[in-house]
Amino acid sequence: MTDGLTIGGPRSSGVTTASLFGEAVRCRAFDAELALFQQRIRTVDFSIGPGIIAAADAPQSILVAESALQDALLALHRARGCAQNLSVGLARAAAGYEIADTLVGGAVQEAAARFAWVLGWALPLAVAVTTPGLLLVGGSIAGSLLVMDEPTRGRVLSRLGEWVRQNRSVLSDPRTVELVRLGVMSADDFGAGVAKVPPELAHLLGDEGLGVLGVDTSAAAVGVLAGGAGLLRETPITVRPVSTTLPSSSRLPPGTPSIAERIARIPQQPEQIRIDRYSSPGQPDRFEVYLAGTAELGLRSGEEPWDMTSNLAALAGDSAPVPAASERAAEQAMREAGITASTPVTLTGYSQGGLLAARLAASGHYAVDGLVTFGAPAGPVAVPHDIPYLALEHRNDLVPALGGVFESSEPVIVRRSLSEQELSGPALLPAHELSNYATTARLVDGSDDARLTGLLARLQHPETAPLTSTLYRAERSSG
């Protein structure tokens, strides 16, 4: 049975290559089984040799049996040929699909970038043409809402909310997700079109070219615009440990956690950071850091640093004037936990936490020996290629698409399309729910795909023993 996982590099794939690679492995195992079966038939065949047949003047039927056994051996030989061809063919097909996806993905992105540039270039004209109409329609709606009595206005707004809830499945449509991804990747080209930068230069500077402009610079531009309106402004932060537990009370098992266990250890509000310390015989202590997802969706910075302000600043990365509050909080907690530039550390994060984990891994300030992200918009972050990096994404999840594609890092990406039942929850973005990522994580742990098992082995440190587990709470010190 297939597990529906697609395992590959930074580009998406339309075929569940994990199941293809899995079937290739199963066909190889089946061939080995047939080889053993062949050997056992030969053993039976040899048990009655020509000597006894001649000496006993055996009946004709014995020769018929001998001939039938030879037929069986020949058919088995052919069956093994099929199994071997299937194994090699399936593995090649899976690799071929991934190459084709890379080529198609690149071409689509290129076309989207050029289209976005034209849109940007034509924006002033479009604004001039559509503004009167938009003002008329918008003014009519706003006017109608204003003249309505309170109960009627409440009913209209409630129905509008209901309509959004009923049609939220559009947000979980993989086509919407890919459109958003293309839109994010093309935002810089749109801006270049607005600024009348020649298309060749825009292409050269964009993420399809030299990568000078990209998702990060687009996010920084949005941050500057929002900051001018008093929104999405960064602030100082404070971080404090909330609780520290010993392994006896936390019942942490020895060795590093599986992918499903990592999900379970991502802290829930009000805490945002968890740091587990492990001892390794004859080696320095090593750490596992877990970072939570976005907790506050407002555009004004409040007390919570895991908010949209941090999301935008983290997406802008080094283009942001100040690092994201949540990133600074994670760094401070790591420092307080005793993590230095030479301390081995594995980072795990969900959503915004995954983006932060990728940023910390890319910073070069830590000896990161593993990175695991769930539904993280970490596309623009250039994580060094020697760090074992696993990224789980749902094809129906909009959030990872907000980071575009992985232009300058090489994670092993596991993608899965969620079933209708999994998407039927009450959340606006059910595909982004941690509970659904927990299901995918269990499938990852049970996968026999060679690329995945190889990566999971690199994330494992079976000789380590847990020492402490500490939860941290960060807050913005002024809003």
Binding site: T2, E23, A68, C82
Partner: protein, 96 residues
Amino acid sequence: MTYSDLSSSDLSNRAALRILLQDQVARLGALRGEAGALLERSRRTISEAEWHGPAREAYERLSHQLSFELATVAAALDDAVDASTRGIRTIELAPP
């Protein structure tokens, strides 16, 4: 040559062959059962494959060929069991 022409040495060889054949039939019967299971697994694998794409056709063709060859193995083992059983009967029918 008829059974009455067989020497005592021939008869003892025949008794030995009969024992070997009985053992062969038992082992072939077990192998036949396993061949059936292998065939069933190979058929189930094709029906459960959920992926689609340009390579699907070649995959199905090879998988059906594999199932066909395994069916041939099972039929040949059936023939071998039948022939061996007939051989045992022929020997048993021989006069002492």
